[in-house]
Amino acid sequence: MMTLKVNGKPREVADDLDLETYLASIDVNMRFIAVGYNGQVVRKENFAAVKLNPGDALEIVRPVGGG
């Protein structure tokens, strides 16, 4: 197991995990979302290529009402 920082909170996840698999594991609807990985935005097509390491910071975001 390893610990990631996901949306500001620590999360225990399995070792040896890629971003795409992780997102699938937590049932994130892929439509109209974006993911920041250690401060960089990752295009959807690259999710599989991103291997997660302990301490990685993920920001999984979606649009909300705003002005």
Binding site: V6, N7, G8, I26, D27, V28, N29, R31, F32, I33, A34, V35, G36, G39, V41, R43, K44, E59, I60, V61, R62, P63, V64, G65, G66, G67
Partner: protein, 261 residues
């Protein structure tokens, strides 16, 4: 009458941009967008709640009718604004961004220097930047020079409903601007929107005035009419201001109640 508003190469018939925040329900939001006649709506970018993911707002908005304008609301620094702008581009698949760099929590006034710096980097990165700014004519010109596709001077504090305190400054911004000028923040009633368009502003952005009205859809329709009224008045050529009166009825040939001599 072909009188389109063109922002970053995209044409709009409506000169009313509407925010999607502070609505009491998704239905009220959808109904008031419809009533407003808008063609572009703003959204904010926030963390997904992983524990209870509610439905995504964009599932409710007809993307064939409304262009999405992600904002960077909530960002206090250049770095935060760049990151959120890029997340927003990914979320909404658009290069349009409403840039907000706001260090001040009480009045939500933007940082002129941070905004200029962030705008410069986002333009380089290929964004079409619509920056939210204080009504500062020199800053507006600087933002235009770094390649912003509009400037968005504020009328008064966001959500304050104080109307437009900055009419004189907006007039000057308009004199010098070669990009559309959109008055944003503080508008409360249609006359605020009309006033902005009457002096030549290209559009207005309204959120709280509609979302928090007792009847949002009716207010949205009122703003639609107010914006159209203001634009038409600008094009129709208003009368000048005079110090003295001019009779609207002929001053001569008034009948006299003279009795016979």
């Amino acid at each position: 009458m072909a009188d389109d508003l063109v922002i970053g190469g995209v044409s709009f018939k409506s000169r009313l941009i509407v925010g999607t925040g502070r609505h009491r329900s998704m239905q009220e939001m959808v109904d008031s967008l419809e009533a407003s006649g808008t063609e572009m709506v703003t959204v904010a970018i926030r963390r997904l709640d992983l524990d209870n993911p509610e439905q995504n707002i964009l599932e409710h908005i007809n993307l064939d009718k409304y262009r999405i304008l992600p904002n960077t609301a909530g960002c206090r620094t250049v770095e935060e604004a760049l990151f959120v702008a890029r997340l927003g581009r990914e979320v909404a698949q658009t290069d349009f961004v409403k840039l907000e760099v706001i260090p001040d929590a009480k009045y939500l006034f933007p940082d002129p220097n941070g905004t200029l710096e962030a705008a410069r980097q986002l333009v380089e990165d290929g964004f079409k930047v619509l920056p939210y700014i204080h009504a500062d004519p020199v800053l507006a010109k600087n933002l235009e020079e770094v390649g912003c596709v509009t400037v968005m001077p504020l009328g008064s504090a966001i959500g304050s409903g104080q109307g437009i305190h900055t009419v004189e400054e907006v007039r000057i911004i308009l004199e010098n601007a070669t990009v559309p000028v959109i008055v944003d923040a503080g508008l409360a009633v249609p006359s605020d929107a009309s006033k902005a368009l009457e002096i030549g502003a290209d559009a207005v952005l309204v959120n709280t005035a509609i979302a928090q009205a007792e009847n949002p859809s009716m207010m949205a329709d009122a703003f639609r009419k107010g914006v159209e009224a203001g634009r038409q008045a600008y094009l129709a050529g208003r009368i000048p201001v005079r110090t003295e009166a001019i009779a609207s009825s002929p001053p001569t040939d008034v009948p006299e109640p003279a009795v016979a001599v």
